[in-house]
Amino acid sequence: MENKALFEKLSSRLDELSNLPKLDDEKSISRLIEEKGFSRREFMGWAGAMTSMLMLPASFTPLVAKAAEMADRLPLVWLHMAECTGCSESLLRTATPSIDSLIFDYISLEYHETIMSAAGWQAEHNLESAMERYKGKYILMVEGGIPHGESDFYLTIGAHGKTGEKIAREASENAAAIFAIGTCSSFGGVQAAYPNPTNATALSNITNKSVINVPGCPPSESNIVGTLLHFILYGTLPALDAYNRPKWAYGLRIHDACERRGRFDAGEFVEQFGDDGAKNGYCLYKVGCKGPYTFNNCSKQRFNQGTSWPVQAGHGCMGCSEPDFWDKMGIVHEPLGNRLYHTVFGGLGSDATADKIGVGILTVTAVGIAAHAAISLIKKPKE
């Protein structure tokens, strides 16, 4: 029953969208699909996968497919702030058979510095005119932390030499929805690591409008495309957690859906990279996996079109979708556990900073870990 109501709600949202003019009459998704050598069936298969990722019942697949077809009704502005461009790179790697990249070719990307061919005056003009023309209608995606306050001059962009903060603020003003893509724009990111020399901060700190955070360093391509589809489908903000992350993607801890979880529960740990445990896929907790403290869907979605993810490759999760993971999650190859380690907080143990991590569930996790992992055995003494 509930589903039926939702189905109707989403359908009427899509009908509304279909009344909007196409931004580019030349393009149609079915033509693109055909041109690129995909069948309608493959497209529907892709839509099915997206449907399950967005935690919708399989019967919603046609709606998701339709949402993809409507993707050219909503103009998209993508801004780069202080960052490494990794999120764009992640997006540029969307799936082969590249239906995700088709969507990407198809959406009306009004402004994206890396991909668009315009530069200089032309680029700045494109941005300004897109913001003007689609006032109140465009989707804003921001990549990168924002140098802020006294030192916002650490990022000046474009022909008029505006600061990043000013541009981001202006663009946020008239956006229909704002997504902070990646840990940088969500929480400040690597440039905000102690001592944060450029005063980098989260997008949400420079605008009063609501910002949906899609963190990860980088977020997987499916979380980026999923975010877009979700907005097209619902037209409203998704259910969010305490850090404004969509629950459909960040509702579970890495640890909850990890393929090595059985090993964890059985107390089977890799003690040292390269040991027999590593060869047999034991749990990576003792070599520094932060999966128990990290909310993200990497184990399900994986990266690079589902090829792999860090834990599969044998490296623990380092908590890249959590705020300030650089400073708060300890030394990369050591468990957070109860150990004392030198942090930028002056040698406090993780317990002292633990309350700053996760959403309070940590304590529960910590009990679980204490039960299974004998932390004192972490490393053999060396001379």
Partner: protein, 419 residues
Amino acid sequence: MIKLIEKIEGEAKLNFNFKDNKIDFVDIEFMSTRNIENILKGKSAFDALVINPRVCGICGHAHLIATVEALESCYDNLQISNKAKSLRELTLNFELIQNHFKWFYLTMMPLFGHKQEVLKATYPSQLMGKAIALFGGQYPHTSYAVVGGVVCDITEMDIIKLQHYIEQTVKFVEDNLIKMESESFSTCKSVDNILKYEGDLPDILRQIKKEELLAYGKSYGRFISFGENSYFKKGKSLKTRVNNNIFIEHAKESETATSFAKNVSYKDKYYEVGPLARAMVNKNKLILDAHRKYGDSIFSRILARVSEISQLLKHSKKLIQKLDLNEPSYIEPCIDIKQFSSSGYSAVEAARGTLIHKVELENGFIKNYEIITPTQWNLSGGTREKQGVSQKAMIGLYDIKMAELVFKTFDVCSVCTTH
């Protein structure tokens, strides 16, 4: 007259000065910085393995490899298995390859008036991204290389998948980039031969000839390359005279007043780095032929970068054949990094050229960290008397569009430069 500006990828600004209608000087400014080197100070040594790939999402893997090698160079007798070395080299190759594709299709083609074909750029770079992810878990920003080796334990299955990705990429090259066998392309010795073929690369090269742009983009003809592995050699080349005895201590950074990026010189001279430099140092026959005919022009620069794709694909296949999966992936270092103070450096070849990392450790913490990126070499903003490599290459041009083309043949990247 100062003419503003043409923005490049990321945030850099070029101020063109004209005299008699020709460009007579170009000021290069980088207007952003993140100060990563300061962030590294005081952090635990291994944290650099997480932070440094984030210096750049475009060459993040080169930064990971440079970091791990810099840390490893702090040890006296560290053992790394051949398998781990080869895996690192393979993933680095894949990063270079995917980067060259994106540069050619996203940046170059539109500058020559062709339609920007995003999918042509993304398809092969996705394949190479997957190849990296097979070992590294994800791309960009993997952390699979650690001090002592790599963390992945790959199987025959992975190798089969990998070979498939490589074959698909080779096929893409042969179907699109240049319609000849990729192997023959990688060993071809003559430019004239290349020009006879069909494909996106020969099209562009022919266009350069037809539009009489062959003389554009010449600089000092001075090349340098520090990253050594089983394919690349280290050395400098003055025109075609190669000297392999070069020392990292002579590579120096200096601050500039107008820009957040520092200049880099070797023994006080500016050098070009990147695929053209590598090919000159490696004495690659095809590129020597291009250089003999057209010097260090846009023609040679484009050909060097794109032909590296086929060379690296071929070399990667060789590396895979020699892999011994029975070797260990990781050999534990005999001293815990927490217990020592030492310093070290590394140099690797990233897509755009030599990347150098220097580190100083004190009781396992980072006391100092310096990063010199490829674009810093090519885009050093010198004075009128002593111009940087790309500055020099733009002198004498009549219009900004052409200067932009010349500038972008260096595959500039402000993202990692303004670390």
